[in-house]
């Protein structure tokens, strides 16, 4: 966003990144979401990154209590919420302290000067007031009395008692939003409409917030302190109807869509855990789709309930995050042995143990692949963007049902909570799939519940209530004859173990071949990622190509089985770099498979990768430094 223009000139930008930061009570998530919506409606492409503390409301004014929301919006196709923000809005000293380091050199900094009291400075650990000691000189600092300006704007409300002081003060985020909206030439219409519907029952709140919003805009317009206003023109997006969607919401909707298209009852058994709980919240609101949600007593019961529901013929789903996934392993094994379709969602967060509950990470790939006793192969898929969670959920359900197997779906805190514009699909175009419940005996001697399909090795799914197909399932080894009866025979056990592995492997035959983004076909470096790193990797590749490097990109959504073409690709390129938010879990799997010396970019900071760090690692490799 470095520009050389005259005061108040409108500067056109291809992209801009803003971070709103403040106390947990300051409403930063809401402010960010509103600005996101304004930008979306204005036609920008965008990506967001909410970040909030693990405590519900850590003490006001402290570093632990800082909540932030970053978004990038652009006139072009973008993939990440941006690396360093161009604009930082800091509602108090703690927010400034925590986020200043991220701001671009020379970036725009808007602070609420009213919040820079000695008490707050103290709490944030400032010895001197940074607004006064010159330490912010390198930034385009706008020290605005956001709080008192808001209070002044809302005087009529506090005077006639429609609002108390606290309520009035709380509108300061709208003042800030008005100001930033003005800076970026945004219309306030969608936010005003939203306020009207949100506070409909308390018209005084609607009025006050609208007033504060406009006051913020007017403040920008009338004061001299802002030299530029910016305009980020609409992006050249594919035509269609768009909405903004987060990963967790997309996931929930994808499940509803799958149940609807397969004409099955959706059962969702789950125990709350950050960051997976929102899927439960969303689905429990969708009862009109016949969704049956069950808040279980714990994750084992949640997984167990899904197995039971699957036995009954439902599209059974459970979700959790790291610690809860660790608890589900034993019951996953039962689902695997009974060969019942269950979708198991892991919205990954920082680990190990309780770890960093509100931060993102990709470190549950290992437990998804290997976290069960015995030889226990399961398909594993991962969503690659918020809206892709819709399709990945649909796909996981399809794989589970068609192959009679539990499927693990990996999401992470980043995708779960961040949002992007989504060009809505036509639900009717979603390819329906068929649970194909057994209704008749499959041999002349009766029903054999483990008589497998020759091709897929899937077994028939007969649900209770079907006369004549009565059978018993269980976790003990079964004979290879299809009866499902217990067998302790040595060779049989080996064969069954191999069959279970093959059943998963063969799914690859029916998956599309992997896609590789390599326009020139002669890339020196293949960048491999999986799941949520898609955005950062695409951004990095864009940058690398701009710099003249021939790089290819392969983003995996199917982790087990791997798609056809994955191993070949890895073997084909001179250098391969696998980037993951863990210490190399996929990298190791691929190394064992291909025996190629795949390099890794492995960092776990609780945040998605920046394209900068990826470009750096890739460049070092390309230049032979690593």
């Amino acid at each position: 966003m470095s520009t050389t223009a005259h005061p108040r000139e409108t500067v056109r930008l291809d992209a801009a990144t803003i971070r709103f930061a403040g106390d947990s009570g300051d409403g930063m998530q809401l402010t960010g979401t509103r600005f996101t919506n304004e930008s979306a409606v204005a036609g920008n492409d965008l990506a967001t990154l909410p970040d909030y503390p693990a405590e519900i409301r850590a003490p006001a004014g402290t570093l632990a209590g800082v909540s932030s929301f970053q978004l990038q919006f652009a006139a072009e196709d973008i993939h990440t919420p941006g690396d360093a923000p161009d604009v930082l809005v800091a509602m108090n000293p703690a927010a400034l302290k925590k986020h200043l380091g991220a701001l671009k050199p020379g970036g725009t900094l808007i602070v609420d000067e009213d919040a820079f009291t000695s008490r707050n400075l103290d709490k944030a650990g400032f010895e001197e007031n940074p607004l006064e000691d010159g330490s912010l000189d390198e930034y385009d600092l706008h020290s605005v009395a956001l709080t008192s300006l808001t209070m002044t704007a809302l005087e009529e409300f506090t005077e006639d008692g429609r609002l108390n002081r606290k309520e009035a003060e709380r509108a300061k985020n709208m003042f800030a939003l008005g100001l930033v909206s003005w800076m970026f030439s945004r219309s306030l219409d969608t936010t005003e409409a939203w306020l009207a519907s949100k506070f409909g029952k308390r018209p005084e709140l609607v009025d006050a917030n609208v007033k504060a919003l406009r006051a913020g805009r007017n403040f920008g317009d009338t004061t001299e302190s802002f030299r530029f206003v910016y305009e980020v023109p609409p992006a050249d997006l594919a035509p269609g109807t768009y909405r903004s969607i987060s990963g967790n919401q997309a996931l929930a909707w994808g499940l509803v869509a799958a149940a609807s298209r397969a004409d099955m009852t959706l059962f969702y058994g789950s125990y709350p855990i950050t960051p997976a709980s929102d899927v439960l919240h969303e689905l429990s609101r969708l009862k009109r789709f016949g969704v049956r949600t069950f808040q279980a007593e714990d994750e084992i019961a949640a997984m167990g309930s899904a197995v039971g529901a699957a036995f009954g013929g439902a599209l059974a789903v459970t979700a959790s995050s790291g610690p809860g996934i660790a608890l589900k392993g034993e019951a996953m094994g039962l689902a695997l042995m009974t060969e019942l379709p269950v979708v198991i969602i892991d919205v990954q967060r920082g680990g190990p143990s309780t770890g960093l509950p509100t931060k993102t990470e990709q470190s549950d790939l290992n437990i998804a692949m290997f976290g069960r006793n015995g030889e226990a192969p399961l398909p594993v898929v991962a969503a690659t963007s918020p809206s892709d969670a819709f399709f990945t959920a649909y796909e996981a359900a399809r794989i589970a049902v068609e192959n009679r197997t539990p499927v693990i779906l990996l999401l992470d805190g980043y995708l779960a909570n961040s949002s992007e514009p989504w060009n809505l699909p036509d639900p009717d175009a979603l390819q329906p799939f068929d649970p194909a419940y057994a209704t008749e005996a499959n041999t002349s001697e009766g029903f054999l519940p483990y008589l497998r399909d020759d091709e897929t090795l899937a077994r028939p799914w007969a649900v209770p209530g079907t006369p004549g197909l009565e059978h018993r399932l269980g976790g003990l080894e079964k004979d290879g004859l299809g009866s499902g009866n217990i067998s302790y025979d040595p060779n049989n056990h080996h064969e069954m173990t191999v069959v279970r592995q093959q059943k998963v492997d063969r799914i690859a035959d029916r998956l599309p071949e992997v896609e590789i983004d390599d326009p020139t076909g002669d890339a020196e470096l293949l960048l491999v990622g999986w799941g949520s790193t898609a955005g950062p990797l695409r951004a990095a590749i864009h940058e690398l190509r701009e710099r003249g490097h021939a790089v290819a990109h392969m983003q995996l959504r199917y982790l087990a089985p791997l798609q056809r073409g994955v191993e070949e690709a890895i073997k084909r390129y001179p250098t391969v770099l696998c980037a993951e938010n863990n210490l190399g879990q996929l990298t190791n799997i691929l190394r064992a498979r291909t025996l190629v010396d795949i390099k890794g970019h492995h960092r776990v900071t609780g945040l998605p990768f920046t394209s900068v760090e990826l470009v750096e690692t890739a460049t070092a490799l390309l230049e032979g430094e690593a």
């Binding site: 016949g290 019961a301 029903f447 009866n485």
Partner: protein, 340 residues
């Protein structure tokens, strides 16, 4: 193979027996329970296709393999949770949970109490042999203090749980106890439990001749059973004893007290399992602790909304109020915008 809906022939015990060889030890109490269940289902006119047995792990949990119904031998302790999922997905089914004292009260304690408090429509049969059979004889949560078993060569020190007491603590609507050796009583209790809407817990005192032989000899042996067991009959005074000269009254502290004499029929409390308040049933469940007889029969039997029925009702109410969900409307709900 599929039965025509119009003509449902009367089934027999054999129709409920699967083709699998029964593999319990000779003399195991489980045989009697299996036989009683098979006959009971046949007599009730139950349909194999809509009957489901869900068990955990343990000797007792092999039960579903021997029933020619739908069934699942699941994992240790989790049967109530698995059955809950099935009940929510399929409230039309007739679901039994088969579990042992270790399965239900040790590893599975939490799922049991939650199934009970939710009042999921399950008939839960707890085979209490006061021992871990399948793992060859460790003490269980129902083993009395001082039990010498594989893992307690010097005697156990843990206060046991009483299944009835715990169930009542967990808001159970149906709580009963019966005995493997008393086929009639077992069948009667099964019938009542099965008829109950909601979660019914039936504890069956089950002899394990291999690892804990005679644990319930007091209430099964001819000589002692009349004095050591109190057979509960709704509407009848709580009288027991070989000479029917012993009875139960309420003491001043709420605890039950034992009386003896000719007039016990008159003085004894009349058993009423349908009391809304669970205190009396609880008091009964404590009788043994104070040296009294073991109550055999239905301790509690009350009505309360059934979990999965409430769940379905809620779904239906919402569908009625909001209309059936449409994918299109879901996706386009809220703020959308058009790019041309």
């Amino acid at each position: 193979m599929s039965a025509t809906e119009t003509e449902l022939p009367q089934l027999t015990r054999k129709d409920f027996a699967s083709d699998q060889e029964v593999r319990w030890c000779p003399g195991c109490g489980d045989y009697a329970i299996l036989a009683a269940m098979q006959s009971f289902l046949a007599d009730q006119g139950a349909r194999p296709e809509s009957t489901v047995f869900i068990s955990g792990i343990g000797c007792s949990s092999r039960f579903p393999y021997y029933m020619n119904t739908y069934g699942m031998h699941t994992i240790h302790g989790r049967a109530p949770a698995i059955a809950t999922g099935l009940a929510v997905a399929r409230p039309d089914l007739d679901i039994f949970v088969i579990t042992g004292d270790g399965d239900s009260l040790s590893i599975g304690g939490n799922h049991l109490i939650h199934a009970l408090r939710r009042n999921v429509n399950l008939t839960i049969i707890l085979f209490n042999n006061e021992i871990y059979g399948l793992t060859k004889g460790q003490y269980s949560p129902t083993s009395p203090v001082g039990t010498v078993a594989k893992s307690t060569p010097y005697g156990s020190i843990d206060q046991p749980l009483n299944p009835s007491t715990l169930a009542l603590g967990a808001e159970a609507t149906f709580v009963a106890r019966t005995i493997d050796r008393d086929r009639n009583h077992l069948t009667e209790v099964l019938a009542a439990a099965h008829a109950h809407q909601g979660a019914a817990l039936v504890e069956v005192l089950q002899n394990c001749p291999v690892f804990n032989d005679g644990a319930f000899a007091d209430v099964t042996d001819r000589d002692t059973k009349a004095d050591e067991g109190l057979v509960l009959v709704p509407g009848e005074p709580m009288v027991y004893g070989a000479d029917r000269d012993r009875g139960v009254i309420a003491g001043p502290t709420g605890a039950l007290e034992l009386i003896r004499g000719d007039d016990v029929e008159k003085r004894s409390l009349v058993h009423d399992p349908t009391l809304d308040d669970s205190t009396r049933a609880f008091a009964l469940s404590r009788l043994q602790r104070s040296g009294g007889p073991i109550p055999i029969g239905i301790l509690r039997q009350v009505e309360r909304p059934v979990y999965e029925q409430e769940l379905l009702k809620q779904v239906e109410r919402v569908e009625e109020r909001e209309g059936d969900g449409e994918l299109d409307a879901l996706l386009t709900g809220g703020t959308t915008w058009q790019v041309d």
